[in-house]
Structure formats: C-alpha cells, structure tokens
C-alpha cells in the first residue's frame, strides 16, 4: 500500500538523521485570559475572580522522527491545546516549539511543515472531495498532472477512489474522516497532527480505522502525533505515548512501560485499572508503607484457605461486585486489610450465572511478589516524568 511515497520523483520525507527530534517542545505554557478565560474559569468553578485558564502548564517533550506518538489524557488536560501550539493555531504564552531542530514558535500555520486532521474533520463544504484533497497542492501551485496523480493516490490510500465528485455532505462520518486524512497526507507533511480523529465513529469502524491508520503510518513513515482520551487506542497504536493531566505531562514512554511501570498513581489509574495498595494495606501485604500497584490480570482468585508460596502475596477478602464482560469477568474484592482490588478472570469454563453467583463469597487473592510495582513517591501529579 505504499502508494503515496514510492515511485515519486519528489523526495519522500526521508527519516531525518537520528538525533534530530521531529518535534521538540521546550517548557511550553499556554494561558487563556480575558473574556473567554474568565467565562471558562467561572464555569469550571476554578475561582470566581480568576480570569486566566492555564491550559498547558510547562510541557517538555521530544517526539522522534517517524514515530507514532500519542497524547493521552482526560478531558480538559491540555492535549488539544498542545496540538494547536504545534500546528501554530495558538501562540504559546511561554516556551518554544521546534520542528526538526528549527525554532517555529512565531511562525504562522501556513509556514509550518505540519498538517492537521481535525476532530470535526473541517472539510470545505462547498468543494468536492477531489477539490478538498487537492486544496493544499493547488495552493502550492503543484502542476495539474502531478496534482491529479497525487490526489488519486491519496484517495486510493484511504480507499475512497471514485468519490472525487461527491460533496462532503454526501459522505458518511467514516468517509469524511478518511477524506480529512487524505487531504492532510497528500501534502506529505513531515509531521501529521491528529486530534481524536476517530472520536465520532462507532466502535467497529473505529477499530477498523485504527488498524488502517497504523498501516498507513508504517507505510508513509510520517511522524504521527495522535491525541486521544481512549487508553486502549493509545496503547495499541503508539510507539510511545505521553499521559497528560491538568496541563502537564505525567509520564512518557512505550505502551508496555506505561502499563507495567506507571510513574504515578494517576498514570496507573488512567492506563488500565488502578489497583492501588497504600499505607496500612501496603504495609500488611507487601511489608512496606509505599504506594504499590498490581494489574488485575496478574491476580489469581483462590479458595479462602489456599496455600501461598514464598514468592507470592496472599490477601483475604470478600467479593463485593461482579461485572460480567463476555470473555472476562471482573470481580471487585474488598480486602480485610482495608482496600479494594479489581481482579479480571477469563471465562474459560465459567458461565455468566456462575460468575454472578460469586457475589459475597470469601476468597483469597494471590499474586507473584514481583508483580506488585512500586509507584514513585508522589501520588498526585508528576512523579518521575520523562
């Protein structure tokens, strides 16, 4: 499917010499002030007389050339604002933005070699699909034959050939999303920014598009910066990701690092289910009063008197709640040591009736000692960072 870059006279975005980051953000701060800021601050109940909102609060990030990088975080954590700062739609209050080593902080969007796929697609409603995709090339005065070929290639890549003459209003949501993608990719930017591009699609289509996006990215080798608040999406698609919280980056790393060694309690909770042991409970079970986390699938649920090996931890408790999920069942267990843990078990031989009947039963939870992981000392924001 390497339609876009192969057999093309123009140089493809060659992977830059190693070392030069595709995007570097240096202590980026964005505050919104004035009338809008005041209204937002009031509606979020920040403080009644505050007239600034700090959307991005000192972000340092390095995104490597050619990688699929995700920005993950809850609503309002500053992901979109960071993306808009990279694209140039907003100017930072403080800090600098570098693209491939070049300081672009003060440049307008049309002077930056990045393209954006907007959350609402932002297709031009008065143009056909073909004209939409050709827009960037027309502006750059690419000669007509080459333009037509590249538009055709880009539409083929998103599997929309034959739709050139349709208007955006005659397309489905998923098709519009793909037009938006083609419109950005056809310019061969060195960095592509995507703001929750799959947010409006249904689950099945979203999963399909995830695979497709990933395949396209591997193909064109353009740096993708992908904003999402869906942790599963971020984990499955990215080479690396950053977890955002209240305008700051909590942790940067590969999906596996993030999942297995969360740096803060926030990351542990946001990436996967947070099973936290703290204070007395941690003291009783692990033998140390720090903050620990155990992933639900690492925990085995056994009879109350089951034997516990030397390298294992055993914790007695009562099943409070059972959630049947089809392939798995999730049990919420209240430990005698005074905390709650979530356990997931595959429904290998269990039926929903049996699973649900387990409510109120006494159990012993057992996990390998090396599976409980100690989280950095702080609980709130920013532990180890990048």
């Amino acid at each position: 499917m390497a339609i876009l870059t192969r057999d093309d006279p123009a140089p493809a975005p060659a992977p830059a010499p190693s070392g030069a980051a595709a995007v570097r953000l240096e202590h980026l701060v964005k505050r919104f002030s004035g009338e809008v800021g005041r209204r937002v601050a009031r509606s979020t109940g920040a403080s009644p007389d505050a007239d600034t909102v700090t959307a991005v609060d000192g972000i340092d990030l390095e995104i490597r050339d050619g990688e699929f990088f995700s920005m993950l975080g809850p609503s309002g954590s500053g992901k979109t604002t960071t993306l808009r700062l990279i694209a140039g739609f907003e100017l930072p209050t403080e800090g600098r933005v570098y693209l491939h080593g070049e300081d672009v902080t003060q440049r307008a969007p049309f002077e930056r070699d990045v393209n954006t796929v907007f959350q609402d697609y932002a297709l031009f409603p008065h143009m056909t699909v073909g004209e939409n995709v050709a827009y960037g090339l027309t502006i750059r005065k690419v000669p007509r034959p080459e333009r037509e070929r590249r538009v055709g290639d880009a539409l083929a890549m998103v599997r929309l050939n034959g739709y050139e003459r349709r208007k955006p209003s005659q397309l489905s949501g998923g098709q519009r999303q793909r037009v938006a993608l083609a419109r950005a990719l056809v310019n061969r930017p060195r960095v592509l920014l995507l703001d929750e591009p799959l947010g409006a699609l249904d689950l099945k289509l979203r999963e399909e598009m995830q695979l497709e996006l990933k395949a396209i990215q591997r193909d064109v080798r353009i740096t993708f910066i992908y904003v999402t608040h869906d942790q599963e999406e971020a984990l499955t698609m990215s080479d690396r990701l950053a977890v955002f919280n209240r305008g700051r980056v909590e942790q940067v790393g590969s999906p596996a690092e993030m999942y297995e060694r969360p740096a803060t309690a926030f990351v542990a909770g946001f990436v996967g289910t947070s099973n936290l042991l703290r204070g007395d409970a941690a003291m009783a079970l692990v033998g140390d009063a720090g903050l620990y986390t155990v992933r639900p699938e690492k925990i085995r649920m056994a009879e109350p008197n089951a034997a516990v090996a030397d390298d294992e931890v055993g914790a007695d408790g009562t099943i409070r709640n059972v959630v049947y999920l089809g392939p798995d069942t999730r049990y919420i267990v209240v430990l005698d040591a005074g905390t709650e843990l979530v356990v997931t078990e595959q429904n290998l031989a269990t039926s929903s009736m049996e699973a649900l009947a387990a409510e109120g039963r006494r159990v012993r939870l057992i996990w390998k000692r090396h599976h409980n992981f100690r989280i950095g000392d702080q609980e709130g924001s920013r532990g180890g960072g990048a």
């Binding site: 739609f89 969007p109 297709l123 008065h126 502006i139």
Partner: protein, 298 residues
C-alpha cells in the same frame, strides 16, 4: 401507561383519545397546524397579488375613464414603447443595483468584524447598533436626510470649510440615502452567514498553506455567497419598490413615483402593470441568484 391514575377519568380520556388519534395521523396534524397561516397567505397575500395582476391586463376606457374588463397586454406594450417609462425603469433598476453593490461592499467588513473578530460582548453591542436604526420610523429617517442634503443643510455646512459641496438633492444623494436605509438588511444576513462558518474550516485552510487572502477568496467568500444573495434580495427589492425616499429627496422619477401618480383616478390598470414590472425584475433576479447556486447551501 395502562394503569393511569383514576382522577378526572372522563376529561383525561377524551383528550387522550384525541391525542392518540392525532398521533397516528400526521397529515391531519399538519393540516390543523397550517390551516390558519396558509389561509391567510392565500387570501390576503396571493389574493392581493392576483388582483394586481388582473388589473394589469385590463384596460381603461379613454372616454369614460372607467376600467373595462377586457384582457389585453396593451398596458405592458405601452410601458415598453414609451421612452419615458423605459428611462424610469432603467433608472430604477440601475439605482437598485448600485445600492445593492454599495451595501455589500460596506457591509462585508462590518459583518466580518462582528462575526469573527469582536469579543462576544462587543458583538452584542454591534448587533444592537446595527438594529437600532430599524427601530426608528422610516419616514423620520427619510425626512432627516432631506434636511441633511438640502441646500443649506448639515452636509453642505460641514463640507463648506474644506471647499466642497454635498451631492444635494440629486440621484447621488438618493443613492446615499438608500444605502443608509438598507445597510442593516445586508449586514445581518452576512453576519449570520459568516458566523456559521466553523473556525476549524478557516484553520484547515491556513494549515494547508493558504494565507489570509487566499483563504478569503477560496473559502470565506464562496461560503457566504448565499448570505450575500439573501442580503442583496432585500436591498434590491426594497430600492425597487420605494417611492417615498425618491419623492422626498429628489425631483427625478422612479417606478414607485409613476405607480403612485397613476393610482387613484388617472389609470389604475397602468399603475398595476407598472407594479408588475418590478415583480418580474425581482423574479428574474431570484432566478439568476438560483442559477449561481446561491440557494444550494441554505
């Protein structure tokens, strides 16, 4: 809702049964809803137009001065072949076109500022400011302009120190007055049209490499053509049909004045025919706007 409370069973069940009956019959519902307004429209509006049209194809008897109900196109032929009528007609259409163009040029930056630059607070104030002149009586405004433009009026008094004179009570003066009168009717639809453009669409254009001017030409302007057409229909038709401002400001004649002169005694059928002409011009204008795709995006 099978176990309804037992209170007021009779009343409740009647209204409920009516509601259920209506719920199954969307056409009846629609008919009930639209009966009054459609009736009004047909009788008062289309009826009046029909009478007007009928009158325009009747004739006035030269000797008795009475209207004879014989069908003929003589009135229209008279309008088309009498030089003075032709001149007046062209003058009126030209004036309407000039006023429309000026209004569009003046309204665009104002509407753009209101819709895309001003803060919500300033925007609210500006909308009120644009609407305010519409609250004043049209006659008062026309009279004020007559005074402003008159020989020893405000405008000449203001321009005298720098050695200039105002246009006076001429067609140029009238053009100014019309532009002033109808400007809000152009600003408001343009404002609404510009406000409807999502900012992400403009950002996308910039993101794809277009500077401000290019974005304006390729994205903003095409997207507000329907609004521009809507506004121009107002300014064009209002100018076409007006006779008060022309008679107050100038001594030149426009269609409105001719209709007025022919109304009472002189020649009712001819007046009717003269009224039908601007209607036809407007229909042509609407067809043209439609051809340009002005209504597609509505």
């Amino acid at each position: 809702m099978t176990v309804a409370p037992a209170e007021r069973p009779a009343a409740a069940s009647v209204s409920r049964r009516v509601a259920i009956w209506l719920d199954r019959r969307p056409r009846v519902r629609l008919a009930l809803l639209l009966a009054a307004p459609v009736g009004w429209l047909v009788v008062m509006y289309l009826g009046a137009l029909g009478v007007l049209f009928l009158n325009s194809v009747w004739l006035r008897d030269e000797f008795t001065g009475l209207v004879s109900r014989t069908l003929s196109l003589d009135n229209f032929i008279e309008i088309a072949t009498t030089p003075i009528y032709r001149t007046v007609l062209l003058r009126t259409v030209g004036m309407a076109a000039a006023v429309t163009l000026t209004c569009a040029v003046l309204a665009f930056p104002i509407a753009y500022f209101m819709a895309r630059v001003a803060s919500p607070r300033v925007r609210g104030l500006l909308v009120v400011a644009v609407l305010m002149p519409l609250w004043a009586s049209y006659l008062v405004k026309a009279y004020s302009w007559r005074l402003i433009l008159s020989e020893d009026g405000l405008l000449n008094w203001l321009l005298a120190p720098i050695g200039l004179r105002g246009p006076g009570q001429t067609e140029i003066g009238l053009w100014l007055v019309f532009t002033y009168l109808w400007l809000p009717y152009m600003i408001l639809p343009l404002f609404a049209g510009l406000e409807r453009i999502p900012s992400s669409v403009l950002e996308a254009s910039s993101d794809l490499g277009a500077r401000g001017g290019t974005t304006f030409r390729r994205v903003v302007f095409p997207l507000v053509i329907p609004a521009l057409a809507a506004g121009s229909i107002f300014t064009f038709s209002l100018t076409l049909g007006d006779y008060v401002a022309p008679s107050l400001i100038t001594t030149t004649q426009f269609i409105g004045n001719l209709i007025y002169l022919n109304f009472g005694a002189p020649n009712l059928p001819l007046a009717a025919a003269l009224s039908v002409v601007p209607l036809l011009v407007m229909l042509g204008y609407l067809a043209l706007a439609r051809r340009l795709g002005a209504f597609e995006a509505l």
